[in-house]
Assembly symmetry: C2
Homo-oligomer: 215 residues x 2
């Protein structure tokens, strides 16, 4: 399976490429294809040093969308709409939103768009795409640090049952992540709220990169 | 310390009385004082059978508010405003909101009031009260079942630092609950969103009474 990462040279995207490229063909996209190429070479080298083969290619965001079966939107909420509107060819493809519309004031807070959530905004902007919410609460450091497994829960929601199963499979095959079906795409509003809550928990309890488990 | 439970004959309130009355003086309130009296006698009997002494008194909601140092509002969101507006004497007291404004459509969803959360509504309705959000995600069955410890995380938020510490102390002294400081009262919107998310996780993964841990 070919997984395209839009915004693949950001912290989250780069971390995802390290975890996913030993099992899947990762096509890392960026506004600057050169930068994506450099990041993909680094990922391959890093995994090679650890004795893993990997498949990672650095291209433009548009090429990543065009070539991939599954596209992960690893972009901050403030760049989500402008990034998507400059790209095409999402129809029929699975599009994963790990995006959390949040702000830091005195504390971290959720600031959803009028659609109700980042994923619902993506769903409106990309008619014909099979939108799935996943990976929202995993900190970039956890993606990147290959010395530690990521042993947390990942709630996944979508209105497309088959697309949801595909993404839950990818989640369950990545480190020690455990996927939970959270229901239809509208539940994304509650999933996206988790991330600012976890950032507040980290801040006020002197913790780092807090994740969740369901018990 | 005297803990008053408004709505103490509901499932959550009755469960709380079982867990709290061996350590604190619980004053169980209800619209019908007779019913509160019966429930409190049951709690005392149940704990006696298990070899625990307990302190539990059943009274009217108003008497519970008047007599207690800490007041827990164990009422469904739909009855929150009408219940509070019929009571007085909250000034200077710690008022705990475990209330989640939610609805079940095809799935469970959060339906916050214009103030942003149930706790922020309580804060508006009760000027002078020291409002704290806590205990939102603990299912009634977990409160009630004394055969099992409740080993979950409890995010706690408030604008009153001292009141927050008092409640975190009560949380940490109850079963195996672990309190986390989640920040100011505005974070209650994100904490209240957890409960419908957990209900969706339970429903779509065939689980029961799902709680959270922070890892």
């Amino acid at each position: 399976m070919k997984i395209g990462i839009v915004g693949g040279t950001g912290d989250i995207g780069e971390g995802m490429s390290r975890r996913l490229s030993s099992r899947y063909d990762v096509i890392l996209g960026s506004r600057e294809a050169d930068k994506a190429h450099t990041t993909s070479e680094c990922t391959i080298d890093l995994l090679k040093q650890r004795g893993f083969k990997s498949s990672c290619t650095g291209v433009s965001n548009q090429e990543a969308v065009s070539a991939a079966d599954v596209i992960i939107l690893a972009v901050p909420f403030k760049h989500l709409e402008s990034t998507i509107s400059g790209l095409s060819g999402f129809e029929g493809k699975i599009v994963v939103s790990p995006v959390n519309p949040m702000e830091k004031k005195d504390f971290f807070t959720i600031v959803p768009p009028p659609e109700g959530s980042a994923a619902l905004l993506v769903n409106k902007l990309l008619p014909g795409a099979r939108v799935v919410t996943a990976f929202n609460t995993i900190a970039a450091n956890r993606w990147k640090d290959l010395d530690a497994e990521i042993d947390v829960a990942v709630p996944v929601c979508s209105d497309d049952a088959d697309a949801k199963l595909v993404i839950m499979g990818i989640v369950n095959g990545t480190s020690m992540l455990k996927a939970y079906d959270a229901g239809p795409l509208a539940v994304s509003a509650m999933i996206e709220s988790l991330t600012p809550l976890l950032l507040n928990i980290a801040r006020y309890n002197k913790m780092h990169d807090v994740g969740i488990k369901f018990v």
